[in-house]
């Protein structure tokens, strides 16, 4: 089997002069096979861990969030229409609807992002580096499900070219690329990413008078398929229920504190993820499982995760002590289940390239993200979520934190007795 595959690859190998084609070929070949290179000039044996494995483990940790997020896109859509309110009701509809929304985003993300990476790798004459495997998997999980694919593409092109390739490719970026893509959409197309209704998919309006908004694929492929099985289909005339606003818990908290939130959602709902939000951030247990997997296998830094939790708790407690408005009075432990704190902690803040690189620095870095993220969340009048901005801010400051840690090390060395 291995010989047959090797044979196949050697037959389709394009000429080295066709750079782009050969780079693409090389990317797929090294995906299938660990190269047969042996060590020289240095250590004779190497550990089995390499960048591909590292990236794939992060993607694996995301899979539970993907499944939950796909289901939840469908679930929120139907909750808005007042249909299939139970977990198992209309399961096939919810899952397929979520896939219809999420899968195209994933495909576009990978094709556009990897396409740019392939192009730059062939230009520079080196192998395609694996950084985009994770970024591309993260991007659909943080974008609104109804985001037009062309906006997604523009955001990815911006983030990969200006955020990563301009600095030298994988391992050289200053800021987190997935967050850069999201912040691009946030500032360039704010209507698509802020407001109460963007987090529920497929409605003409998330308020009175809105109806379900289905596309061609749902009506003409899925509906006939489901009716062939005798299952329920999508109803294009379904209307949004009275009083529905599509507000996320944070949006409600910003307006009226914990009372406003608890009128619409229970803490259990918020924890398990039956709330509007981006695909990745809502299902907290799945994120926690993914975070545990990454921390236990040593793929992500547990220092950053723990210090971020402590920083967030610290700031939450300070706000509770101050208690100036209803938002500040929300008990600090409820902030974990609202918004995207856990997702940002597990997958965004722990990106080793953009975080602080010294162990001491990581504690300071994580703590400050927790503190500043909470400040932005609670005190920002325009947008009640702070992790994207806090992480990008600290990404820029991480080299400064490292600088001071290293200076401490240098000064300690100067004090050695002669």
């Amino acid at each position: 089997m291995k010989k047959a595959l090797l044979n196949f690859f050697s037959r389709i190998e394009p000429d080295k002069s066709k750079r782009l084609l050969h780079t693409a070929y090389d990317a797929f070949f090294t995906f299938a096979f660990t190269p047969n290179h042996v060590t020289k000039d240095g250590v004779h044996v190497r550990d089995g861990m390499d960048l591909k494995r590292l990236m794939v483990f992060v993607v694996l940790a995301l899979q539970l969030s993907y499944v939950m997020g796909t289901y939840n896109i469908g679930h929120q859509h139907f909750v808005a229409l007042g249909q299939y309110l139970g977990f198992w009701e209309g399961f096939h509809l919810k899952l397929s609807y979520g896939l219809v929304k999420l899968l195209p985003m994933y495909v576009v993300s990978m094709v556009v992002g990897l396409g740019i990476e392939f192009y730059f790798a062939s230009k520079k004459g080196h192998a395609v580096e694996e950084g985009y495997l994770v970024t591309g998997a993260l991007i659909p999980l943080i974008m609104p499900p109804d985001l037009p694919l062309w906006i997604l593409s523009v955001a990815i092109i911006f983030a990969v070219i200006i955020g990563k390739e301009a600095f030298g490719g994988t391992g050289m970026n200053v800021v987190n690329i997935a967050l850069l893509a999201r912040v691009f959409v946030f500032f360039a197309y704010p209507g698509t990413i802020s407001g109460d209704e963007v987090w529920v998919a497929g409605l003409t309006k998330a308020g009175a008078g809105g109806v379900a908004d289905y596309g061609w694929f749902t009506m003409h492929v899925l509906n006939p398929l489901f009716s062939a099985f005798g299952w329920a289909g999508f109803d294009p005339t379904a209307a949004v229920v009275d009083g529905y606003t599509g507000a996320t818990p944070l949006a409600l908290a910003a307006k009226g504190g914990w009372e406003a939130v608890s009128q619409v959602y229970t803490p259990s709902q918020m924890f398990w993820g039956a709330i509007p939000g981006s695909a990745g951030e809502t299902g907290k247990p799945f994120i926690i499982l993914g975070a545990l997997m990454l921390a236990l296998t040593g793929v992500a830094s547990w220092r950053i995760m723990l210090s971020m939790v402590l920083g967030m708790s610290f700031m939450g407690l300070l706000f509770n002590a101050w208690g100036f408005n209803a938002f500040m009075q929300i008990p600090w432990y409820y902030h974990f289940s609202m918004g995207s704190f856990l997702f940002a902690m597990a997958f965004m803040a722990t990106d080793p390239v953009t975080a602080a690189s010294t162990n001491r620095g990581k504690w300071i870095y994580g703590f400050l993200i927790g503190v500043i993220g909470m400040i932005v969340r609670v005190m920002n009048p325009a947008y009640p979520e702070g992790w994207m901005l806090a992480i990008l801010f600290l990404n820029v400051f991480a080299p400064l934190i490292d600088y001071f840690v290293l200076q401490g090390n240098i000064k300690k060395r100067l004090k050695y007795a002669q």
């Binding site: 004779h44 044996v45 550990d47 494995r53 610290f314 990581k362 007795a417």
Partner: protein
Amino acid sequence: MKQKQLLKTNLVLALALLAQSAYAHGSGGGATLHYLLMALATLVLLVLVVRLVDGGPSKSGNGPAYTGGGKVVKLTKGFDISLKGAAQGSISHQPVTHFALEPAQFIGMSPIPKLLVQEEDTVKAGDLLFFDKKRPEIKYAAPVSGQVIEVRRGAKRAIDAVVILADKEMVYRSLDVVDPEKATREELVAFLLESGVWPMIRQRPYNVVANPEVTPRDIYISTFDTAPLAPDLNVVLDGKEAAFQKGLDVLAKLTSGKVHLGLDANGKKAPAAVYTEAKGVEKVWFSGPHPAGNVGVQIHNTQPVANGGVVWTLGVQDVATLGALFTEGRFNASRVVAVAGPEIEKPCYVQTYIGANMGDLVKGNLDEDDARLISGDVLSGTKVSPKSFLGFYDDQVTAVEEGDDFDLFGWLVPEKSRPTVSRTYLSYFTPKRKFKIDTNTRGERRAFVVTGQYEDVLPMNIYPQHAIKAVINGDYENMEGLGLKEMVEEDIALCEFACTSKQPLQQLLREGLDLMQSEE
């Protein structure tokens, strides 16, 4: 001590704050205080955890009973690579006929040293072979007696090796031995330089042959080797105990400080008496995984070398050879070498001399003909062909399989298990199992991505990734400030093993060290 007290006060403070907040629960002003105290408790908790986890690379403590209450430095970072084919049993004799000194292995040696012999000359063991024109006082001597059958030349007439066909019975050059009790330091140094033993003394930083004009701050000797498949240094000095002690006595006279012996507190039994009962030396016990046995790590964790300072290091068999100059009056370059590795049929200890021919050493013992032969260990040894020779400073030969095979989805589900520092592999959880290993790179070279990985396997207060990045950037100040000089190849070799991005760290380290040495 101070650290423990600090931790205790922190813990008490945190508990007090939490207890206080549990009582001060109420509304209005009481609630504010409650939350403020809890916020403070969060901060204290953070500081506590940081101190506990990232306190430093070593802790002082008590060791096993045989340390007799001596100071034990417990090194927590590092990793033991557990391989098949460790040398065992009693010391055997392997018929080796060819020996050589290879000038290129001495760092900084000119490519064409000045030869003192020619082909077809007869030499005695201890006769001088060559010296470096840049440092003419340091002489290099023949390890065995016999006939110089070849002066192997390489590119641009560089001298690759001076090869000697050994006699069956060794004949030794007669030496004018000085009495170490009565001689001055200058006379001792001059004698050592003339005898050919001097190159065995290396200095830190840079790990070059020691400069005879500089008096070192201290001399350090590590009496245990934690490298993969390294020989057990408790058995290699069999019969040479008196020479070893004499060597220590002589070395004590050459330094303004002390001779330090690094002793092994890892084992269940005490190390050999020749080390535990050595006289006139400072003994420090070390425990922990590799690289606890590296002398550079031991220096760093006792008294690091300040910028501009110089210390000397020797191997235990080198000390015995130095002592034999005085106890036997001759240049006794015999060595006990571990022939080990997964590709060796019967791993064993071999009694031979410095510079033994590699093909002869492993003859009849090699499982595969195309195995990689390494003079030294798999981490920092040199790849050699059977025609080449055992390194001057090496006391082991390792044979591993060449890994020049493709592995289908090898980065996800590799065909064979190997020792690993990564918890993504099941083999991490069976560290005592003995593995076979091959030389496949397991991935391609990438930019630095993972951080904190090198610090996990280096028990020194150094940030290796930043020091190496300073080398790549040519940033001299940061190279020096971050402690590049405190490391040599064998210290960073384990970081290179663990490196996810497959960077050539030892090469980069030597580039940085060369730059710093040239600027001095």
